[in-house]
């Protein structure tokens, strides 16, 4: 924990993130460029045809959607248990990105569902629990905005975030626990052919790096905004 607290103060965070950002930004662009190039060079899938191209933007969006929620949950726990002010800032900063990636997962999935399943939407367990994730993000952001006192808002939002964590394993295992139209897990179990797996992994890395980069910029923005507020109050 000491390690975390040493680097998690606003001053150190500004210094470290400032040093790291150019590299994560460059790595993001590189991964997305290579991933797209490889993704558009694959042969059509024997079952899904050219719609395999959707794999490379659908799965990465879903991964980041869940990763961002995990990030919010960990920061919320740090905030509730150790009352660390930067943890609140970090949790709140991740939410809009999480919501956007969740929406992208839903939209790209829907556009994949139509040609493969014959429908844009079905209330199966995977799709429904993923839609719930979007509502959790929206509720989390609304709660932050609804309570004026920042300490109380942070506390309420952190509790909501931690309660919502239960949805993450439900999303993950929904395809095993219920009979879903959505296909089962295929990446970790090695059912994705290498020719598709590499572009997918590189795009995934690109999406994760993009999220981390934007998240850092947003935390930095919040730190500057707080400094400005403190200056205003001091005057």
């Amino acid at each position: 924990m000491n390690f975390l607290f040493r680097y998690a103060n606003p001053h150190e965070f500004m210094r470290l993130s400032g040093a790291v950002l150019p590299f994560t930004a460059a790595a993001t662009l590189l991964c997305l460029a290579v991933g797209l190039y490889l993704g558009f060079s694959v042969p059509p899938d024997y079952q899904q045809g050219t719609t395999i191209a959707l794999l490379f933007i659908h799965v990465p969006a879903d991964v980041v959607a869940e990763l961002a929620y995990g990030a919010i949950a960990v920061c919320s726990l740090l905030s509730l248990v150790w009352r660390h002010p930067l943890a609140d800032t970090a949790a709140r900063a991740a939410a809009p990105f999480g919501a956007l990636f969740t929406a992208l997962g839903l939209v790209t999935g829907s556009l994949w569902g139509k040609p493969m399943w014959g429908t844009y939407w079905v209330w199966d367990a995977r799709l429904t629990s993923f839609l719930l994730l979007l509502f959790l993000y929206l509720g989390y952001m609304a709660l932050w905005n609804a309570i004026e006192d920042e300490t109380r808002a942070a506390r309420a939002a952190a509790i909501l975030a931690l309660v919502g964590v239960v949805n993450i394993p439900i999303i993950k295992f929904s395809v095993d626990w219920w009979s879903t139209l959505h296909q089962g897990e295929s990446i970790v179990s090695g059912k994705v052919a290498p020719v598709y797996l590499w572009p997918l992994l590189i795009m995934m890395l690109g999406y994760v790096l993009l999220f981390l980069t934007l998240w850092m910029v947003r935390i930095r923005t919040a730190i500057l905004e707080r400094r400005a507020r403190n200056l205003m109050q001091a005057n």
């Binding site: 045809g49 050219t50 933007i57 929406a103 992208l104 556009l111 930095r220 500057l224 905004e225």
Partner: protein, 54 residues
């Protein structure tokens, strides 16, 4: 590289288009907020703590 998506093009290109727009859009939004916060803080610091006390 192959951009011929055949009959599925009507599903694939909108998905790519929406994803690209959303990701570029949120990047620009994030950078704009950063620049705004930086400029505001710089203006406040330049004004100095004494400026409003008089």
């Amino acid at each position: 590289m192959n951009f011929d998506m055949g009959p599925y093009a009507v599903y694939i290109w909108p998905a790519y288009g929406i994803s690209a727009l959303a990701l570029i859009g949120i990047t620009l939004w994030t950078l704009a907020a950063w620049r705004r916060a930086k400029a505001r803080l710089a203006a406040l610091e330049k004004r100095g703590p004494s400026a409003t006390k008089t």
